[in-house]
Each structure stands twice: as structure tokens, then as C-alpha cells.
């Protein structure tokens, strides 16, 4: 059982052969494979959830819940595609439940013309302001906090996770043009921050 973990140590998800190893490890509920995946993807999972939720509190619990769900439903990952979209899909479903429980933001009902309710989060508590490490990031923090969750989600998947539009569409369960529109909207908001700086 623990052999897969060692095999994975050298090359987690570098190519499709490794995704097969991940799938086999998940199918066998190999704890060593889970550990390898946690170490490899934990920070990215945290980042994705912060972008989706727009907050830091509650993220650790969701991360833990995501990995438990990955173990329980690992058989549904077949290894034919990259692991990240599957992982983020699992996390997304849990985030939707989390947001529904808190009755804040809807990730699964959008673009219908109705305003999306955003939880009031003070700027001091913004996870983006706290995580900004550069001057540009500080400028973007406020813009990010003001974006809809679904727009932030599209941005992080496209520009931080480097996913294709098709992969993002699969994660967020939306048509490709909708995903592209979310990215354009997010880019416009962030670009205006950069242009303001340039002009000032």
C-alpha cells in the first residue's frame, strides 16, 4: 500500500503517468499518497479557497474537509486528466455548502442580472490585504475584495493555476464563454487599479 507513496515522491502529477499513480493511490485509499498530495497541493488549495470565500477564517476547516472528501470519493478520479481541476471541484462543492450555510455569496447562480450579495468584510480583515507582499498586490487587494466570488475564482484558476478555459469550465460547471466573461470582468477591475497608479 505504501509503495505508491514512494513512487509518487519523485514526480507528483508531472504528466499523465503520474495522474494514473494518483488515481491508483486514491482508489486504494493509500494514506501515504494522500500525505504526498497534501504536501504538494495544500498551499494552492488554501489560496483557491481564500479567493473563493474572500476570507481566511473557515478556510482551514474547509481544507481538512476537502482532503477527507478526496479520500472518501477518490475512486471517482480516473487519472485521465490533471489532478488539480478534480481537487478544486471537490473543494468548490464544499465551499458552496459553506457559503449556503452562512447565506452569503452564491457561486452557483450567476449572470442572471441579479446582484450578488457580498458579505461585508472590513478592509482590515481582507485576506488579500494581509497576504499582499508587493506594492502592486497591495493595490490589487481592495479590487479583489470587491469582486464577485465567481470572478475571483476564475482569476485564480486562470492566472495562478494556469488552467485552460475548458478546465476552468469543468471546475466551475459553467460554459466556456461564461468563464471567459468572468475573466475579462476580473481583468478589467484589476487593470483599472494599475492604470490609476500609472496615471497618478
Amino acid at each position: 500500500m505504501y509503495g505508491y507513496g514512494m513512487a509518487l515522491a519523485n514526480a507528483v502529477n508531472r504528466d499523465t503517468g503520474d495522474t494514473r499513480e494518483i488515481a491508483r493511490g486514491l482508489r486504494d485509499r493509500d494514506v501515504a499518497v494522500l500525505q504526498m498530495l497534501v504536501e504538494e497541493y495544500q498551499d494552492r488549495l488554501v489560496r483557491y479557497l481564500v479567493y473563493v470565500l474572500g476570507r481566511r477564517d473557515g478556510v482551514d476547516d474547509l481544507v481538512q474537509e476537502t482532503w477527507l472528501r478526496v479520500m472518501e470519493r477518490g475512486k471517482s478520479y480516473d487519472g485521465r486528466s490533471r489532478f488539480e481541476p478534480w481537487l478544486f471541484t471537490v473543494a468548490r462543492h464544499l465551499a458552496i455548502d459553506f457559503l449556503r450555510r452562512r447565506r452569503e455569496v452564491s457561486l452557483d447562480a450567476e449572470d442572471d442580472g441579479r446582484p450578488v450579495v457580498m458579505a461585508p468584510v472590513s478592509q482590515a480583515m481582507s485576506p488579500f490585504a494581509l497576504a499582499a507582499r508587493t506594492e502592486d498586490a497591495e493595490r490589487l487587494a481592495a479590487a479583489l475584495q470587491g469582486l464577485q466570488a465567481i470572478t475571483r475564482e476564475a482569476l485564480v484558476l486562470r492566472f495562478m493555476e494556469d488552467m485552460s478555459l475548458q478546465e476552468i469550465a469543468a471546475v466551475v460547471n459553467a460554459p466556456v464563454p461564461t468563464v471567459a466573461a468572468r475573466i475579462y470582468r476580473g481583468l478589467a477591475a484589476l487593470r483599472s487599479q494599475m492604470e490609476e497608479r500609472h496615471e497618478s
Binding site: 498551499d43 507582499r133 490589487l140 494599475m194 496615471e199
Partner: protein, 157 residues
């Protein structure tokens, strides 16, 4: 302020950044931006915005990995225990069915063969085979639940 905006090229730039553009879009943008200051600034601001996203540092909290792995191991043990009890439940079910078949089909024949009263054989089979099998069939699925309640491991979060 930009003197003149070229919306079609701005859209092409957006498509290119979103990876929604074609190679033809890429080529046209490259050629156009080389000679258009406004679109050059648009592209530059877009790239700075994307680069700015990399200026955030989101890391897992201290101890989160250990906490997650402890929960994963605990859940794995619970699932393994549940599987074990389910396998035993299947065995109990098979024994129950088999005992009932024996009672209905073979009981009378065996009673006649050994010269025993058929009621005694039936009661014997019920007491020694069928009833214990049914008891195990009911008990096995409940054991993991009772165990989880007993040691407080019903929830991991």
C-alpha cells in the same frame, strides 16, 4: 488618458490573456501593439495586473498539514472498520438465508431420516442457527456506530 481606444484590439488582448484567442489574434495583437501606444498601455496594464496577482502569499497555517493528516488517518481507520463489519454482515446474511433454506427444505427430510419430531428439528435450527445469524446480522452494522459514539470519534472536524 488615451487619445484613441481600439476596442477590437482590447478585446483581442483580453482573449489572448484568457487563452481564449486564436494564433491569428496573437499575431494581430503583436503587430498592432508595436505601433499603437494606447493598446500598448492597455496590454502593459493587463500584464502588470496579472503579475500583481503573484504578489500575494497564501500559505497553509502552521500545523494544518499535521491536523489534516491526523483526520485523514482517523477517517481511513473508521472506513476500514466499517468495511470489515459490513463484510461480516454479509456473512451473517448468508448464514441466515442458508439456515432458513435448510429449515424449510431439509429439516423435514432430516427429521424423518433420523426419526426425530419435525417440530424439534425446526426449533433446534431456529435456536442454534437462524436466530443467532439474525442477531449477528442486526448487530454487525451497529457496532461501528456504537464504537464511534463510545470513543468520541463520530466527528473529525
Amino acid at each position: 488618458m488615451r487619445a484613441e481606444r481600439h476596442l477590437d484590439f482590447e478585446q483581442r488582448i483580453d482573449r489572448s490573456l484568457a487563452r481564449a484567442g486564436t494564433p491569428e489574434d496573437e499575431r494581430l495583437v503583436e503587430e498592432h501593439v508595436a505601433g499603437c501606444a494606447a493598446c500598448g498601455e492597455y496590454l502593459s496594464a493587463s500584464r502588470r495586473a496579472v503579475a500583481g496577482l503573484k504578489g500575494f502569499s497564501f500559505e497553509a497555517g502552521v500545523g494544518l498539514n499535521a491536523r489534516v493528516m491526523a483526520a485523514v488517518r482517523e477517517r481511513a481507520e473508521q472506513m476500514e472498520a466499517r468495511r470489515r463489519w459490513m463484510r461480516l454482515s454479509v456473512v451473517a446474511l448468508v448464514l441466515t438465508v442458508l439456515g432458513t433454506v435448510v429449515d424449510l427444505q431439509v429439516g423435514r427430510w432430516a427429521a424423518a431420516f433420523f426419526g426425530l419430531p419435525s417440530g424439534a428439528v425446526h426449533h433446534g435450527l431456529m435456536a442454534l442457527w437462524i436466530a443467532p445469524s439474525i442477531g449477528l446480522l442486526v448487530l454487525f452494522p451497529l457496532l461501528p456506530l456504537l464504537s464511534a459514539k463510545g470513543n468520541g470519534k463520530g466527528r473529525t472536524i
